[in-house]
């Protein structure tokens, strides 16, 4: 768990906002791309379709209706409940330096917004902030987001990009899995839709809680999604993992996600799904989202790589 959060220590790489005018090299096909072109193409390589990581600001802009964004809980900050320090470096200092680089609000941003005119409570993991790791602030923000969704009966959407729980908050970070899943459970019982969107990477405690609990689950292509990190698995089984293991397409094949949707189609796919949910009578209860229980019932009608 929390495997990816080690990138929290070295934030230089994840800041993809390379100054304009610089050439980027595609990690997959090695094509050299003008960075400005990459931005206009939603940071997807034109020659091979490789999805570069997208900064959260750009992600929000790309998904929501322009200008419709009322952000919540921006004043929440991580405390340092354990007084955690590694070789003299305090966790509270790591938080401060992350906030300085990435902005306030810890590793999650949530707002009331709309997609295609349909009001939603939407939230985004900020991978740039300590690997998107979930500590008390992230857990609190998600719980509040779900509670707002429950009160207003607006659909909830979460974009996950996280290495998992935030080790530096110890067992309190583990408990955020319980907290967020419990809040999600209430949405389910009230038949308020929840859409989970999985971005690269979604692992550990975030995968093992809200990320995998969507009424529908959508993944971006080639995102790493799983409980244990690849290195942990390799150490356990003492062999190399097959190519494509734990990637979106692999999860689709194994029935763990409903669709793999390229970034350019994501907004339209969300809009279409939201219309479907909105079309069902929400108040009467019976006709809406599925059975009363909370079981392992398979998602209905998933048919693979979806274009909306």
């Amino acid at each position: 768990m929390a495997w990816w959060s080690r990138t929290g220590g070295l934030q230089t790489e994840s800041k993809k906002s390379v100054p304009k005018g610089i050439w980027a090299k595609c990690e997959r096909c090695s094509t050299t791309i003008y960075d400005g072109d990459l931005d206009t193409n939603l940071r997807v390589c034109k020659s091979c379709g490789h999805h570069f990581r997208m900064p959260t600001d750009g992600r929000i802009e790309m998904i929501i209706d322009p200008g419709v964004w009322q952000e919540h809980d921006t004043t929440l900050e991580s405390a340092d409940p354990l007084g955690f320090r590694v070789d003299g470096k305090r966790y509270s200092d790591s938080i401060k330096s992350a906030a300085k680089k990435v902005g306030p609000g810890d590793a999650y941003r949530a707002g009331t917004s709309a997609i295609g005119g349909i009001p939603v409570e939407v939230g985004f993991f900020v991978f740039e902030f300590m690997g998107g790791s979930m500590g008390s602030v992230v857990g609190e923000k998600i719980a509040r987001q779900f509670e707002r969704a429950l009160a207003s009966r607006r659909p909830a959407i979460v974009f996950s990009a996280s290495g998992g729980a935030r080790m530096q908050e110890g067992v309190l970070s583990l408990m955020q899995m319980a907290k967020t899943s419990a809040a999600r459970s209430r949405l389910r019982e009230a038949h308020v839709p929840y859409i989970s969107v999985l971005l690269h990477p979604t692992t550990g405690g975030v995968a093992a809680s809200i990320a995998m609990l969507g009424d529908i689950i959508i993944a971006e292509p080639d995102a790493l999604i799983g409980f244990a990190g690849p290195r942990v698995i390799e150490q356990t089984i003492r062999q190399q993992l097959p190519p494509g293991f734990q990637r979106s397409e692999f999860l689709l094949e194994h029935g763990m996600v409903d669709m793999v949707v390229p970034r350019g189609d994501l907004r339209a796919t969300l809009e279409r799904s939201l219309r479907w949910f909105a079309g069902a009578p929400g108040e009467s209860g019976h006709a809406a989202a599925g059975s009363n229980g909370v079981g392992t019932d398979p998602a209905p009608g998933a048919n693979g790589t979806g274009h909306a």
């Binding site: 409940p81 067992v171 419990a182 459970s185 079981g295």
Partner: protein, 348 residues
């Protein structure tokens, strides 16, 4: 590996009406003694020798009494001042009682149930209908093995998705019929393997958390050994979370934490201290509702004494919880977990 060969005397379809009391645990073999236990154990061995030498003609009783006192005092001193890492070692002690050891003493009319109804049975998690005191209950717990053969079968108590799915299935059934749920937590963590990932380890755990949050029957979880991360939490979204005195509960193992954050295996004791994973720490963090004292020297030194204390604690909490209306139970459980966490709101 066959799922049919269960290595415990508790087998499905064999109603065990009254479990015979287990034999006294065998004396710890040398390899099962922790470094800090050794002085006490050695003193006890000397005592045994002396007792054997005693006869009607030679009276060592004064000497024996003196040594007994000394042993008790030494044990008290050692255990009064345990480091977090030493508690981690105790929680994983090879002689430590496991879930079935407690179940044998605490439960009657035990029927083990098997399988997730979609892939297979996972012996790393045991589920059973049973009677506890005045209640018909569902008992769930991680089960470790006592030796290599058992551990192959139990996978060291590391469950795969089918284990969590079995647990979820049984918990929903228990709730349908109004039966309280008792969970025993003792796992290094969920199994990080190829097949486990293929079959959706993350989803299986997530679903368990969501389901536990919604059930309207009393749920009590007792951490009896290692509470390892998400794999432990999957049996831990309970109305009461109780912990044995020398059990631990953590987001990551000290070993994992040391290798990720310090990149140095030698920092394991440091990581164990920083993670605040002992029962005593977790009371302060409001994650643990009550610490159940163990027998002097740890649960492995006297299972019967420890189990009796577990029984008393569960009984007391179950009685309290049974008095609550079902809707109130769910609401309180929600608020309990809703309140866990530490953050600052700079606006206030």
């Amino acid at each position: 590996m066959s799922t049919e060969t269960l290595d415990t005397p508790i087998v499905a379809a064999t109603p065990v009406v009254a479990e015979p009391p287990p034999p006294r645990p065998e004396p710890l073999s040398d390899r099962m003694i922790l470094e800090f236990e050794r002085p006490v154990v050695e003193l006890e061995r000397k005592l045994d020798e002396l007792r054997a030498l005693s006869s009607e003609t030679v009276d060592f009783s004064n000497e024996i009494r003196r040594l007994e006192q000394k042993a008790r005092k030494l044990q008290k001193e050692v255990f009064a001042d345990l480091t977090p890492q030493q508690k981690v070692q105790l929680s994983r002690h090879p002689g430590r009682p496991y879930m079935l050891d407690y179940a044998r003493l605490l439960c009657e009319d035990w029927f083990e149930l098997h399988g997730d109804r979609s892939f297979r049975d996972d012996p790393a998690i045991v589920g059973a209908m049973a009677r506890f005191d005045e209640w018909e209950v569902l008992v769930l717990g991680h089960q470790k093995g006592r030796n290599t053969k058992e551990n192959l079968h139990r996978n060291f108590g590391m469950a795969r998705p089918e284990g969590y799915r079995k647990a979820t299935r049984l918990m929903r059934m228990a709730a349908r019929f109004g039966r309280p749920i008792l969970c025993f937590i003792d796992t290094p963590g969920a199994y990080p393997g190829l097949g486990a990932e293929e079959r959706g380890q993350a989803e299986a755990i997530a679903k368990a958390l969501q389901v536990m949050a919604s059930l309207d029957v009393p749920i009590i979880s007792v951490v009896i050994g290692e509470g390892g991360s998400g794999g432990a939490l999957a049996l831990g979204v309970a109305d009461r979370v109780l912990m044995l005195e020398y059990s631990i509960y953590s987001v990551i193992s000290p070993e994992g934490c040391a290798s990720i954050l310090w990149r140095a295996p030698s920092k394991v004791p440091e990581a164990a201290a920083q993670l605040k994973l002992t029962a005593q720490d977790l009371v302060g963090l409001k994650v643990c509702d009550e610490i159940i004292p163990e027998a002097p020297g740890g649960a492995h030194r006297d299972l019967a004494v420890t189990a009796a204390k577990v029984r008393m604690a569960i009984k007391r909490h179950l009685r309290e919880l049974s008095a609550l209306p079902p809707a109130e139970l769910v609401e309180r459980r929600y608020q309990k977990f809703r309140a866990i966490g530490a953050f600052i709101d700079t606006a206030t």
